[in-house]
Amino acid sequence: MKFMNVNESWFLYDTVMISPFVSSLPHAVPGWYASFAALGADDDITFFNSRNKSIGLAYNNQDSRDQIPFALVAESISVSFIAPACSSHLGDLGQNPIRGRLDTISAFFAHELPQHSSMIFRINQDERLKCNCGMLPPGYGEIGFAMGQGDIGLTGGGGNSVTAGGWGRSHLKYRWEFATGIGIPRRATMSVHVRFVEWARTVLQAIWGPGNMEMWNYVDGAPPSNELAYLYTSFLIQVLVQGKREVQQRGEYHA
């Protein structure tokens, strides 16, 4: 039977995480950041050339960290700024009775920062798109918007604010499209470079966080107010290329 490639709908994506959780990983993930300050100190946030799916399939589905392992026709691209919906960021209580708190950083990250970021999309040596990140909405993510009144107490244990939203309409139809597709050969390199304007870097380098979200401590059972668990929040920047990959014909079940 004659050899034939077949098309499969495919997403190719890579993610940068910003969270204190990064510091607790036994093996450092290249290009991940433990704080906003570290993110703001980096002038060039790169995707598709340093990580692979070993960091977790939710964050990356590359088999090779710096090559496309199959022929791919790229049909659309997005840069997504994903913030935690548990948007009350609390500091460590430590010896002090008052806990530092910030409720607005999720909204800043997801709704303001994309406007002040740029990206360059490269395939091998060619720059195929140079663009403001705000023009590249993901077309997926939580919908609706909620920002409730947070806890007005100072020691935690009360209500927390919620920020659920994102950039663009949450429908895969609404993405930046390459109308005729970009044919990328197997083993080509592909990269996306995200940069922030200096103003945004100034904010990120000075701001505290990401902080902690407040949960009940499972180990201690039904908790009194001093047995809350404070767990790291995580922010993500995710670049996703949607298209079709070409693979060898398989599953040809001729009855």
């Binding site: 798109l129 919908i143 304007v197």
Partner: protein, 269 residues
């Protein structure tokens, strides 16, 4: 190697330019024409021009992606036009009282993002031809955050530690944040290489009246690590200027010389 005939190819591509209003401009931003450090200065000009003086090099790729400040670098087919008014998600404030944000202005970013477009007109020109004359609210950008809303504001902005209370957050767009929701050119506008283009935004007297009476943009006052880890009375805050802007964009196709002939199944020929 077999020679193939010369051919231009079309690539989806945006063109955009931005006016920024921010009390502090950084580095090379200080020399950019048409950017302002106060609403009052911004309102002093009745007309703000785009695609005439800024480039990706003298501003930033996030704000402008022109290589030439006053002509198109390639053949371009424009399919749609959009204007986006953007501002901070949280209100302007000052860090007057050392241990807390103060003098919080809860309405100024709301006016800029949602009301100002109702009081601005826009025209778009290619060479000497006026292609569009419209009100800005009818030229939505087709991108931006979804949803919209505001949380409970700070009950007492003079309280010593309002950061411990919930902040008002405002987010949203003019129009649906989808690429279909822009001012369309059903017959695409074909712009030759090296042609000049220009967009102008005109402020009405009402828009100028409001803006010239504001002392902002001020700052967003954020928590620092020190504030997070120490008792609030002994802590400090970080303030950063809020950043407002207007971004005019064209979406369409540029024609470039054939390159990157990536015929998907194959490797190098």
């Amino acid at each position: 190697m077999q020679q193939k005939p010369y051919m231009n190819v079309a690539e989806p591509y945006p063109l955009y330019d931005t006016v920024i209003v921010c009390s502090q401009l950084y580095g090379k931003e200080q020399s950019i024409n048409g950017w302002f450090t106060s609403f009052r200065d911004f309102a002093a000009d009745t007309r703000h021009t785009f695609f005439k003086s800024r480039t990706a090099g003298n501003s930033h790729l996030a704000y402008c992606n022109l290589d030439s400040s006053d002509s198109i670098d390639f053949v371009y087919q424009a399919f749609s036009l959009g204007v986006r008014f953007f501002g901070p998600v949280m209100p302007d404030a000052d860090n007057i009282v050392v241990e807390s944000p103060n003098a919080i202005r809860e309405n100024e970013h709301v006016f800029w993002m949602f009301d100002l477009a109702k009081h601005c007109g826009i025209d778009f020109r290619v060479q000497q031809d006026v292609i569009v004359e419209n009100t800005c609210i009818a030229c939505p950008p087709g991108y931006g955050p979804r949803g919209g809303g505001g949380a409970h504001p700070i009950p007492d902005t003079n309280a010593p530690h309002p950061n411990q209370d919930s902040w008002k957050v405002v987010t949203g767009s003019n129009g649906e944040p989808v690429i279909d929701a822009r001012f369309p050119f059903p017959n695409p506008i074909k712009i030759p290489r090296n042609a000049s283009i220009e967009a102008n935004i005109y402020l009405t007297s009402y828009a100028r009246y409001v803006l010239e009476n504001l002392d902002s943009p001020a700052n967003n006052v954020y928590l620092t690590e020190n504030q997070a880890l120490q008792p609030a009375d002994d802590a400090d805050y970080f303030e950063v200027p809020t950043r407002y802007g207007i971004q005019v964009s064209l979406f369409g196709f540029r024609e470039v010389q054939q390159r990157g002939q990536y015929h998907a199944p194959g490797a190098a020929e």
